[in-house]
Symmetry: C2
Subunit: 705 residues, 2 copies
């Protein structure tokens, strides 16, 4: 055995503990499936009462089996799983697959039951898939293992499939079979008490039968490990995932279903983006991508050519491709010249290239051969709407012949070809995936394209800055000792300064006269903010006066703020902070938020409405690399505001990048912060005018506000 | 005949002109299809050389047919169509369907050919479908007409289908047949030389066999007529459309394919929105919606309950539904109480209601009966992932029985049920549509929900304001006489004032001293803008100085502007406009743009980046109603900025609405304008501070800048 998990996925002998003769029972179906799939090893039914099941000698316990047992499939009632596991251990079984449900997914009692089983595993150095799972499959003809209770034994193929939900696993396998998608290994990992998606990713990385990894996930065990492992695996083999629980309500359902906290969706997106996992929205998209990746190369770029015999689908394809970010350059003049020698006079030599309805097998072959030579394209999409007068199998054959040796990616569309089309079958059996609708091709290409870009991107580095941790430690300790849950004002600015983040300093004033003095020391224009009593959302409360340009304006602003605050609590003294007004920059927000599952997420967006209403904000899992910071900044829709909107000079992006990295370091050095909000951080064209103007730190120990 | 088009869609006799015996020819396939579908009337093949085709006596010309002929299908070469049409007219034929291609879709020569045929139509008062079309279908058993050359004769059903592309028509019919969607009438309208989508909409409105109208469109003949007619029809029967040519490149392909200018996509969206047409993105969505509308009522609201036997699909459904804007309230306490009496102890009584994997036919029936009584829901989505141990036909039967009499909308999901599932067939045959993936149900529901909201919305009124048209006429004439193509500055403000649109007036100054005087007359703070030389994009050119608060600041701003302009052409004198600075409002953009196909479109968005970078802008076809203006304003994403963001007081929305309506009236009164741009129009909390600050009018006769 090359790999520890080979005992589970390539066993030489299997015991089915809880095998049964009762029709419709899981014990019966599982044994039946193992036998029907013609497992290439020995099978031993185990059942306390039966002596023969399915014409095979049955044993009372696994300990009675005379031969060595690599793998046990466990289908006994939940109360008996621990003892059965112990017997397996004593027998020298290497791996168990626990199909039985009623463990951590049903609450505390189940969780305790699961822990007991885990303890047995450790005692005997066994590995486990499940509990509460659907079983495992290996289609390798040298193995032929179908240890599930489902009705689908998938086709042999190159897709390794990890599913957290048994029902989804069965649904996906069944649907995939109809589409002709084959699997190498399927693992229904259930509660993931022992073997996790991480283990499976590592197994698939080395599995020579697996080219593409599909995942259906509802939550993550350890997101940071997952990111690290998935990032490694993605470099070698593409990973496509449906992660459900995107919406709050969906997440609630996921939580009650699996007994684990489901993550905020921004966390999932950040994780997938950082790990190079292709996230798809629907199961249909999952299949679309799987079809392409298992039979075609990842395209070298995003330039696509569409060849069609019907205008309508050509337009639909074009719309969908352009909307998905693909490019559709014109044909090269030489290609057009060549095409003209044999094409119909009514053909259109643009992209989409419309051969018009009369085009038959010969036209498809000649046209595609000419276009295949055109260096302007990375992907070819032949579309065929079968007219009744043309033999679609012949067209398929000619398409395949024309593109047999191409190194371009080929995804075909046969629209309205009908069920069981011989043309579609022919192409699929020659590794050209066929889609019914052109929109599905566009979705597929855009997903794969993102992966290609990710894989070709340079890896970033985690920078290390010289900072003053002691000063931050002192402020945090002082605040916690005072029983406060937030650090604001001076202290917040001090933390930034300690971490080398430029900040506009404050001067405090409790009289209008002091405020004027401070303003003159700083230099006009200035900003006045209420300092005490502490008002967290200052703008909303009308607690900020900006762009004050004279002593008179400062005096008036002071009075207005004082009036706005109204009567004070006993012992409180009204005061304001006077700060330099930084004009001409762009307000950004740099921060950190803590996801209950993913931990700290770095955040970046433009100030005010952009983050709060337009939701135009980027998240990343910490620690952030320099490259990660670059990408964050560039990924927001309002990015053009930073690069010089309407003739304004571009802001200094380097300072924003560095600030993001410095905050990431702060988050790494101190686990005290639940949230960090530097808002606004003014980004200016000149480096020395880029400054944090206000900041607040919410402490983990206090209640979040 | 009740309707003029009944001669085409319910003919008593059909001549097939160009019928042929040659295998694979369109003439052969069309005749073959008519006979195979067992047309309930007389068929007369017409062919100059044959005497018998398909065992039926054939005639040299239509004039030789001894009986009356209602409809002629024309498949002769393009050069002969005119003469054949003339013979049809002489014979007294009422309608012709011209399948032959080679008309306006191939350029000027073809266009001329088409005009000649149209002239013949008028001479004889005949109607025509085509040319360049796929034919027509009527599945009514009393008609049984399949006058197409395709391979699909659709199922009998309630969908009326209009398609501009023959290939798409065939593809859609073929795919629909697989999904069990039936059609009443199919019209492939080709070049729409005579019978247009408008004619078909009106025909379907009155057709008792048609409940739902599907359209595949590539362009519009007369968008304003289309809007008017579609709006009427939508009130009675739902219209679902795929309009292709969404992207610029797609539009280009649509244009070369159909020989008509394709509209900008914003125009299409505005039109569909105003006409109550459900626009779907893909053909798959088209089917999803068609399935629901032909068998289920439009839901009364957007409250959905999901009942499932598997957690995974339940979560997927929840995510998709919430993301599509649906609501998923909790079950009522009484419902939960009832459910507890028979449900599994592991069931989850939230929404989605998870009955867990053991649920069989009885559980489905009892659960759905209880939930059907819960008044909190408008739509029920039963999800079933068939476990191998449970009979899916029985589950389907029990689902159907439980929901047989409900007035709620029911859309079912059988995930992984496999091809030709007996359960799916059972539900479909009992008018419960079944989807394979829950995401498709969410898309469908959200599309139908938008339609429901549209249908229940009150109709708006076109307001009429007292305005000074003569003043505008004078300014337009003067500008055109001067050979200029844009109206800016004073004149532009004057036009607004003439139409009762509040505007901040200008004072001009050509010296710093005059500027200071003007500023003092207006009152500080003020804005200075370069007036001459004319600079269209003032902000970009640095030609605007805002928020000037003192004589000193005005003087400095004047000098800076003068310096920015640099040397002047001979005869030009530098001058600035001094204007009141309106602080504290929100900058909006109100305008009009001319779409090459749709004509004037009203436009609304927030100023600056919101329109230009975030593309957060609403369009409407003119004339605009008061209700239309209301909806425009509320449809932009940044709308919350207008209603009081971060404690700011809400702006006066009434003034914006009225201004939009007044601009719409201006557009109606004057067809001289190609573009109108009121930018910014300041929206303030107080009505008397809402003002246009700058405007420009691009004239139609001049080149657009």
């Amino acid at each position: 055995m090359k790999h520890a998990l080979d005992y589970i996925f390539r066993p030489r002998s299997v015991a089915v503990i809880g095998a049964s003769r009762r029709k419709g029972s899981i014990g019966r179906e599982t044994l039946h499936n193992i036998l029907t799939a013609e497992f290439n090893g020995k099978v031993f039914p185990v059942n306390p009462t039966a002596t023969v099941i399915h014409s095979i000698k049955s044993y009372s316990t696994v300990l009675d089996v005379p031969d060595a047992v690599d793998l046990a499939i466990v289908i006994v009632p939940k109360e008996g799983v621990r003892d059965v596991a112990r017997q397996c251990g004593e027998k020298g079984v290497k791996g168990i697959v626990v199909i039985t449900a009623g463990f951590s997914e049903v609450g505390a009692e189940g969780k305790a039951r699961e822990m007991e089983v885990l303890k047995v595993l450790r005692d005997f150095n066994m590995r486990m898939v499940g509990p509460n799972c659907f079983g495992v499959v290996n289609t390798d003809p040298r193995v032929n293992l179908n240890a599930t209770f489902g009705k689908t034994f998938p086709k042999v193929g190159k897709v390794g499939f990890i599913t957290q939900s048994g029902a989804m696993g069965e649904a996906i396998m069944s649907q995939a079979k109809e589409l002709g998608i084959g699997f190498s290994v399927v693992a229904s990992i259930g509660n993931k008490a022992d073997i996790s998606s991480n283990d499976m990713l590592e197994y698939f990385k080395d599995d020579p039968n697996t080219d593409v990894i599909l995942m259906y996930l509802e939550n993550f065990g350890n997101p940071r490990n997952f990111t690290r492992i998935a990032r490694d695996v993605s470099q070698v083999k593409p990973i496509v995932a449906v992660k459900s629980g995107r919406t709050k309500l969906g997440a609630k359902a996921a939580s009650s279903h699996t007994g684990a906290l489901a993550g905020l969706d921004v966390g999932v997106d950040a994780l997938f983006e950082q790990a190079g996992i292709m996230r798809v929205e629907t199961v249909e998209e999952l299949f679309g991508v799987a079809m392409a990746l298992t039979s075609q190369p990842v395209p070298k770029g995003n330039r696509v050519v569409v060849v069609t015999n019907a205008g309508g689908p050509g337009i639909l394809a074009t719309d969908a491709l352009i909307n998905s970010g693909m490019q559709m350059p014109n044909l090269a003049p030489a290609t057009i010249k060549k095409l003209r020698t044999f094409s119909s006079t009514e053909a259109s030599f643009s992209n989409p290239m419309d051969m018009v309805a009369g085009a038959g097998p010969k036209e498809y072959k000649l046209t595609l051969e000419a276009i295949e030579k055109d260096k302007r394209f990375d992907t070819i999409i032949p579309i065929f709407v079968p007219p009744v007068t043309i033999d679609q199998l012949e067209v398929a054959r000619h398409i395949q012949t024309a593109l047999d040796k191409t190194d371009k990616t080929v995804l075909a569309c046969f629209m309205g070809a009908g069920e069981g089309s011989s043309g579609i079958e022919h192409l699929k059996s020659h590794d050209i995936p066929v889609y019914i609708f052109p929109e599905a091709i566009a979705k597929t290409l855009s997903t794969i394209h993102r992966y290609r870009v990710w894989r070709s991107r340079k890896r970033g580095k985690i920078q290390s800055f010289k900072v003053d941790t002691e000063r931050v430690r002192a402020i945090v300790d002082k605040t916690e000792a005072a029983g406060l849950d937030a650090i604001v004002g001076d202290d917040a600015i001090d933390i930034l300064t300690a971490y080398g983040i430029p900040a506009a300093s404050y001067r405090y004033a409790s009289t209008a006269r002091d405020a004027v003095t401070a303003a003159n020391e700083i230099g006009y224009p200035v900003v006045l903010k209420i300092a005490t009593p502490t008002v967290l959302h200052k703008t909303e409360a009308g607690g900020v006066k900006v762009d004050l340009r004279s002593d008179t304006e400062v005096r008036r602003a002071f009075k207005e703020l004082e009036k706005a605050v109204g009567s004070l609590k006993k012992g409180e003294e009204f005061s304001v902070a006077v700060q330099q007004m930084i004009a001409g920059g762009v307000e950004t927000v740099i921060g950190m938020t803590t996801d209950p599952q993913f931990g700290p997420l770095m955040m970046f967006g433009l100030g005010g409405i952009y983050v709060e209403i337009m939701k135009d904000v980027a998240f990343r899992i910490t620690p952030l690399t320099d490259q990660g910071a670059r990408e964050m900044i560039r990924s927001i829709r309002s990015y053009p505001l930073l690069t010089g909107f309407r003739g304004a000079p571009p802001v200094d992006l380097g300072i924003i990048e560095e600030t993001l990295c410095r905050v990431s370091q702060l988050v790494k050095d101190f686990d005290n912060f639940l949230e960090i909000d530097i808002n606004p951080f003014i980004a200016s064209p000149e480096a020395d005018r880029c400054k944090a103007v206000d900041a607040r730190f919410i402490l983990r120990n206090g209640p979040a506000t």
